[in-house]
Amino acid sequence: MHLRMINIKNVTKIYPHSDTPALRNVQFRVQPGEFVSIVGQSGSGKTTLVKLLIAEEKPTKGQILLGDWDVGEIRASEVPHLRRQIGVIFQDFKLLPQKTVYENVAFALEACGASNRQIKAVVPQLLKIVNLEDKADRYPRQLSGGEQQRVVIARSLAHRPKLLVADEPTGNLDALNAKEITNLLLKINQFGTTVLLVTHNREIVNSLKRRVITLDQGLLVNDAEVGKYII
């Protein structure tokens, strides 16, 4: 199965022991190759949307279709296969602390059974893309925040995903590193990868001049092809 279009159809998510829906009847589509920013203040439902996309949560109502995958109906055994087709970048990096930069990137390939030859060929290329080829044997604790995030980007590209979801990738970074990461995402998008950038960084969103979907208290309040951060 392969990811093509992303179709969010009337999705509502209510967490257990909560009366307030985290998402309410959200509906939008993303075409292959698009760069979409999903913005909103804290508690607007951005992170919930990311969790739904990577099947960490299932929608209470509605459908999330990632190509042929229906996230609401996916079996537990299929989740790893889905996640290998989606590159995910988190605000808190989520690197394996006891593995080097090289090993962190390689892990994504090892997990899906890639051969050692393939790994030895691909990982150095990925590290070169993110400009970390000379830090391959460092551990995450020996890297700056910006460098750690670049490792995460390299890892997320290991499977050549059709979709890259970045959840507040610049949240823990200074302005310079944030700009660098954003440029990297744009570069990845130029190669045909669909990018969903979830952020509340107004400057970045406004500088991108790309499609912007705005969430507010779980509702989709705006969807502009060339948008701005309006909340």
């Binding site: 790893p80 006891q98 090892e110 890892r155």
Partner: protein, 304 residues
């Protein structure tokens, strides 16, 4: 096969890169295993002491001095032929007299009385050893045979003393054995609880990593595998260390124990004779325990 080798590689990497956690886990597992072996040793020693006590029990049959050789031989044959008898030793009248003089060396009145008697008043003695402790009552009963009871120079109290003594020794042995087994069972259960929780704590420190691996697309077996391999490696290391401790303890401690108890403690023979079985049982038990604990703990943190 590649997946298996990767899993083993990850396990070794994890153990090596979390060295202090590895050392602490191995230490706790080793100490727990060692303490179970100490309790096992106590059981062995208790059994050896009880057995030694049994071996010192025998029935001495004092034959009257005026019994003829034919009568004495007949009695001896009768005693040897009893199904409960393991061995019959003969103490001649002269040896019996010498032993009597030796026992009463500090009692001049007895020795003087003996001298006044002149001739050796003692007859032969047959020292009967039973096949097991609970067979002495049958031997004592058998001595009350019409053909032989008049040949035996005995008083009523001798047999009652023997019966009482035998019953007491049996009671001590049975209680010690039961207590030892109960204590071993309790300690083994405690050891299991300790080991399971040590592993759970170790896995807890990897909680975040497990979640990350799942998010990156690793499946259940690829995440669980290294921790299961770690369980095997940790169990093996703990077994080696505990075994070395037990071997050293038995080797150096056994002579002192033998000297203290006055009899062979039985430890060396027990451990040498059962080394493979003990090691295999402990290793398999440890692997199962730590493996199950590890698998359960990882499963909890894989719900991402």
């Amino acid at each position: 096969m590649t997946k298996f080798f990767r899993i083993v590689k990850f396990a070794w990497q994890s153990l090596g890169r979390n060295l202090w956690l590895t050392i602490m886990t191995v230490v706790v597992l080793s100490v727990t295993l060692f303490s179970v072996n100490v309790l096992l040793s106590l059981n062995v020693v208790t059994g050896a002491v009880a057995k030694s006590l049994e071996n010192h029990i025998d029935v001495s049959v004092y034959v009257k001095a005026d019994a003829t050789d034919d009568q004495k031989n007949s009695l001896r044959s009768y005693l040897v032929g009893l199904p409960q008898t393991a061995d019959v030793k003969t103490v001649s009248p002269d040896d019996a007299l010498a032993a009597f003089r030796s026992r009463h060396a500090d009692d001049p009145k007895v020795l003087k009385a003996l001298d006044e008697v002149g001739d050796n008043p003692l007859g032969a003695t047959y020292v009967v050893t039973a096949r097991s402790l609970d067979q002495y009552p049958a031997i004592i009963t058998a001595l009350d045979h019409p053909a032989y009871r008049d040949l035996i120079d005995r008083t009523e109290n001798d047999f009652q003393d023997y019966s009482t003594l035998i019953a007491r020794v049996q009671e001590i042995r049975d209680r010690a054995s039961g207590f030892g087994i109960a204590l071993l069972a309790i300690f083994a259960a405690l050891a299991m609880i300790i080991m399971v929780n040590v592993v759970r704590v170790a896995i807890f420190t990897h909680k975040d990593e497990i979640g990350i691996m799942k998010l990156v697309g690793a499946n259940g077996s690829f995440i669980r595998g290294p921790y299961l391999v770690e369980s095997v490696i940790l169990s093996f290391l703990a077994l080696i260390i505990a075994s070395a401790g037990v071997a050293a303890g038995v080797y150096f401690g056994s002579p002192y124990l033998t000297s203290f108890l006055g009899t062979d403690s039985g430890l060396v023979a027990f451990f040498v004779g059962n080394a493979s079985l003990i090691a295999a049982t402990e290793f398999v038990s440890l692997v199962l325990l730590t493996g199950i604990a590890s698998s359960y703990a990882v499963g909890r943190y894989m719900k991402v």
